[in-house]
Point group: D2
Chain length 426, copies 4
């Protein structure tokens, strides 16, 4: 990107974060409704800190921190940058205030835009790469902002909404056609991000992998299908579950996906637009890996590996059409809002819901983590997590790629996480 493209991209992404906050009242910014959730104002501050600490500190002359104490408050997990507020007590901080955090954003934005315009040419390429990375980082936090706000509001007994319900939110879609499995022949597949262009270090290097024959479901599992699993006693039958999964069911008392509510015998679902009856046609979301795996076993299927998923995405991705953050629905849509519906092949791979894979989040062969603090971005989380693919209705469209690897622990449910099944063909 040249200077003006970079400046424009920077301002656009940063503005999107502000826009996402518009429906919030001051109090909403402060809340941490569970340890995984961060207060919205922390996201605002942390993404700003990222630009200040990673870029301004390196590239601005004689840089002096806007607020040195913010370095402590807004560091997430970077050991390279010293001590920080423990993650699970982010919700105990009233200061800096929301206004102060927005002022901090403005200050850093101005300095960064100044640097985009004025940095000596010799350092610009390296600088621009880092800014681009910072924008992808910010986009990740845009998604977290949406899912965290959802949890904050849904945990409140007054059940406030993020956006009020307009027409398309309550449209009941027709039941989708029964699932089919698109078949892929065995063969060697080159997976991972190609050289050139932005990708996280964990998407590289591109490497060969051998895949046996497999079938992949043409669309995500729907709420109606998942409800059949529940009605069949899915949450009561230990033999359907991984051992750790059954422990999670027992300890947490899971009986349905997160945000499902039993009201007078009917299921309601809590969305960012408020509660409404469950739509059987929409993709099921907010399930853990354990639930996805148990559902697959109940169907006598399995989850796809990330290689199987990526191969399908390259063949059938259709330019990554889908229901993304920009669509403003903040909820999965039946049929992905028409992206590819009725067409042959595998649909709705992108957007709507992140799809749990059966692959552990591990380094690719030949993986080299980035040098310096950015090395902490991905590599150190490569244990006890599973890969998810495809993005969700809270993911910015420009953020996703066929090679994109998201990852969460097996019991997490507050992201828009769903299910697509695979099967062996022999």
């Amino acid at each position: 990107m040249n200077r003006s493209e970079l400046s424009s991209a920077f301002q656009k992404v940063r503005q999107t974060t502000r826009d996402l906050c518009r429906p919030l009242c001051t109090e909403d910014y402060v809340i941490q409704s569970m340890p995984d959730v961060s207060p919205p104002k922390w996201h605002l501050g942390h993404t700003t800190w990222f630009f200040e600490r990673m870029i301004l500190e390196e590239f601005a002359d004689n840089y002096r921190a806007c607020h040195p104490r913010y370095y402590f408050v807004f560091n997430s997990y970077y050991q390279s940058f010293g001590e920080r507020v423990a993650r699970d007590i982010r919700g105990t901080l009233s200061r800096p205030t929301v206004e102060e955090v927005f002022a901090y954003r403005t200050e850093v934005d101005e300095k960064l835009v100044g640097l985009i315009g004025g940095l000596e040419q010799g350092r610009f390429a390296e600088f621009a790469d880092l800014v681009e990375l910072g924008l992808h980082h910010e986009q990740q936090h845009q998604e977290l902002l949406v899912t965290d706000v959802k949890h904050i509001l849904a945990s409140n007994p007054l059940r406030p909404t993020y956006r009020t319900c307009d027409g398309d939110g309550i449209r009941r879609a027709p039941a989708p056609s029964p699932p089919t499995f698109h078949e892929f022949e065995a063969g060697m597949f080159e997976m991972g991000a190609p050289d050139g262009g932005f990708a996280w270090d964990n998407e590289r290097p591109r490497h060969k992998t051998w895949l046996s024959d497999y079938g992949l479901m043409d669309r995500p599992v729907t709420c109606g299908e998942y409800l059949d699993f529940m009605k069949d006693g899915g949450y009561r039958e230990p033999l359907l579950w991984l051992s750790d999964g059954w422990d999670a069911v027992s300890e947490n008392g899971w009986r349905s996906p997160l945000y499902w509510d039993r009201r007078d015998g009917d299921w309601e679902i809590v969305t960012l637009r408020g509660s409404r009856p469950l739509d059987l046609a929409e993709p099921v979301a907010h399930v853990s890996f354990y639930e996805a795996d148990a559902y697959a076993r109940w169907e006598d299927r399995r989850l796809p590996t990330e290689a199987e998923w990526e191969r399908a995405a390259r063949q059938h991705g259709r330019s990554m059409q889908g229901n993304f953050l920009e669509d403003g629905r903040f909820h999965p849509a039946p049929g992905g809002c028409g992206s590819g519906e009725g067409q042959p092949g595998v649909r709705q791979l992108f957007g709507d819901v992140w799809e749990w894979t059966g692959s552990a989040y591990l380094p690719y062969p030949g993986y080299r983590q980035d040098r310096g603090p950015l090395g902490e971005y991905n590599g150190k989380f490569m244990s006890n997590q599973m890969v998810l693919r495809g993005g969700s209705c809270a993911t910015p469209k420009s953020h996703i790629r066929p090679s994109y690897r998201n990852f969460f622990q097996c019991d997490k449910r507050w992201q828009f996480t769903g299910i697509r099944l695979a099967k062996d063909l022999h």
Copy 2:
């Protein structure tokens, strides 16, 4: 109280709560910095709920709740009033907003003032008693508001202040004279609140108790004296501690009172006006019962019983002069700011710091708890707590009495809790 006195008292107390909130920014109202702390807006809502639920519901014709869901949100621990938000997640609620809570206060205040003026005469006496009780309840929460705000601000790495430091906050007082023990002869003592006038149920009935000879320290223990205990290894010698106390020291890593900070070899203290060097002359505060008890053992003394304390308070209380909430210091003062200094006898019994006694919080002989929901106010907490006496710099002056019994678990430190020693005379 007649109608106009009651109306005036009501408005004055309710206004004081608002005044105490003036230094807060919106974000401060939402925070629960540890399970014992409640968010300031919860205090505002809960005290209002108390008037609505206990009084308006009973005395207003065809009363309809302002916001029925608030009954769930703002109930503290009244089983009589059904389900409520668990105490330790009060800090996860962004709504109702601060503005909504203040509006709720205004609405209930108007209705209650209306009732003070308009309630039929036949029910007024009973009503007025309940309003008075509600005001005492509100005053308790004024003290909690101050101590909770102190904890919220002190937990913040940016170290915000509640009020900025003016002159008297940093005045260094002369070292107090060495402690003396005023002697009391053995004899029968009538303790507890006399009939008539407001008192909590736990202060009654007045009853006889026999006291042996004893001596009572003429003033509270100072920071300087407590520092001697620390320097002598007080926190490292298990034989000075109750068994439970030593466990608390070990588990919590206590090495000083709460809010003491070691900076470059010197002790600083965090106050509501910010951090400043420790004043050796001021009463030590923010110690647990265990620390008070260990300090006493180190001095080869003991804590007084509540009867011993109350007897001294009746003889030496001097109209309960002292350093109270109204004084606006929000911190204990050397010599209680001159109340009784230099006079013979026992001084500073009221205000400055709550004084731990060696008495467990138990019912008096013949105790009858109030009927109905108010019966839950005091009686059900009569286990595993110790009695404190005398009020603190965060207690409203009109709230305290010689018979007043405060109570906390042995390990609590976030109140302004201090030490006065007693000794046996044989």
Copy 3:
């Protein structure tokens, strides 16, 4: 005691401990079925350590420990004697073996008996006092041995018995007559152990206390009466409970006393002789303070203070007749096996079940804890515990006194703890 009396007392008490172990198999000695329980072999070792560490080390010439590492293994909680195995992992130690522990007993016994015979006269009195104290200590552990073995066996799904059931264990007694309350007039009472004779430091000094009029139930509450409380929803009504008590009910899922078992609609009770149908006439046992307190509130009564209990015991104790360890029942008996039944006044004060009082375990006025390590015996536990009086069916008869103060935390249930009610007379 002279030398031969002391020697005989020593050998008798030590032998009793061995006798109590006779029904155990080797494996039983090793188990810690919950943190409060100690493995029987630990009791055997610890009581021996007590004689070695407190007495042989002081009085034997050039004493060398039998096994220096045992000092670490068998120290209970004496900070004066340094580090020790954490209490809750006593059940992780297979060595020393049971045989080794018995050999250790034999070795220490021989040395101690030798000292009884041979110690120089000038030190004998002090020595004899310590030996006597050691025997009382051993008797406390005899009671713990019985209650711990009960818990160990009852926790086992194979439900082994300690002794098989003979005739008197299953005798069904007639329902006791309805309770009456014996009345005591207000007055000054001298409580505590008189000077001379053995008593723990916590029973002294004898001191005056004023008592109002009160009534004391003539016998302990029976299982039948307690069952009425249960049937009336006692465990489901929070308003009957102390706040901490209701938390305990909720967290532990209490629905009955410990060792009660619902089988096909009937209540069975697990005893040291095995399971059998509940006997409605026998005193209820294995209730916590919280349950005792809730039961009293349900009856609109209260628990007695320890002063009230002690005064009754001095007037009505009838030489402390009762159902004790020596009787070999190991279970409370209806009517205390005839001790005082049918006579006027207060019965069954001693033996059968420890009676919870409403008094916190605190120092008496003028209390001085013993010097040296023995000072850790009682004084450091004077917080967060309640006093129990009278001994139980697992207490050696020679161990108990009217002034004897036992103490446990409010939620403990594995001792033979029961209920006697009191009431105010105005």
Copy 4:
């Protein structure tokens, strides 16, 4: 296997278990020194239960359980077989006694041997397969027995030994030559157990996988090499660790492998033959996956994948020579006791220490878990665990295979787990 071979194999394996118990005293059989450890008598009972419940119940006519309650006591984790004693309280059971458990073994052995001789021919093949599987199951518990006994004895402050130290236990070996990396060319590899012959379901199906060029260390990492990592601050530098790993270091206070003891500045190591100075030449053992991974990062290497390991094992396994359970050392040996030392290629792949791989324990492509209860054996543990390869000094030699997949959570250290490094070749 024919009937006589099967009978002989059965008796041999069952006898080995008894032999391993010979050094134990009765008390040792009962202990659970941490939740991962099972009491030795539980292993004895559980392996017996396995034969009874899986085989006798199916193949013996009108079979009646020896002791029906044992089905509850000795079920490990089979949901198919109903309720069981919770894993972490196995150490609270004194009964059945050790003698009773051995009697149970004898009873089941006799019945099973009878069946080997007398079962109708038509069912024999299926039966023999199950018996063989039961023997492999028993061998797994032989290894656990050794490692659990090691933990039980090492946790005891008296530091008992399993076997006394004879000559070869203390032999100091010469320092091994510096590690070299044997290089493997990229290519397709068929991994997993071939059809025919015993293998667990998780080793199948055999399947293709593509491997890039890689280098594999010729021998395991030694204690001396690991000590260099420690001296270089390995346990203090968070950037060397996975995020979960650093949490484990911090929470558990890890500063060395398990069983290493700092004594007066020197390192000692606790073995089953007692404590002795650390032998720098022997393979490091008792490290977690996190430690193995951190060590590899410190060396700028990585752990091998299980495919890389298995390929080397097929080329260089040399008939699986190594230091196994049968050798009776119960400890890793420098140079694997000469197996392959000095020869070119990769040595010591089998025996000594299980080698952590960088592969998550997941199903192979096309994996089908066994039907019925045996389906619970492996498949349900396929989350949050890592694969280990090669067996250890506590593994029976006849139990191991090149395709054998062991698996543990990343933080486990009580098995003989060690490190072999790999590296990329580009």
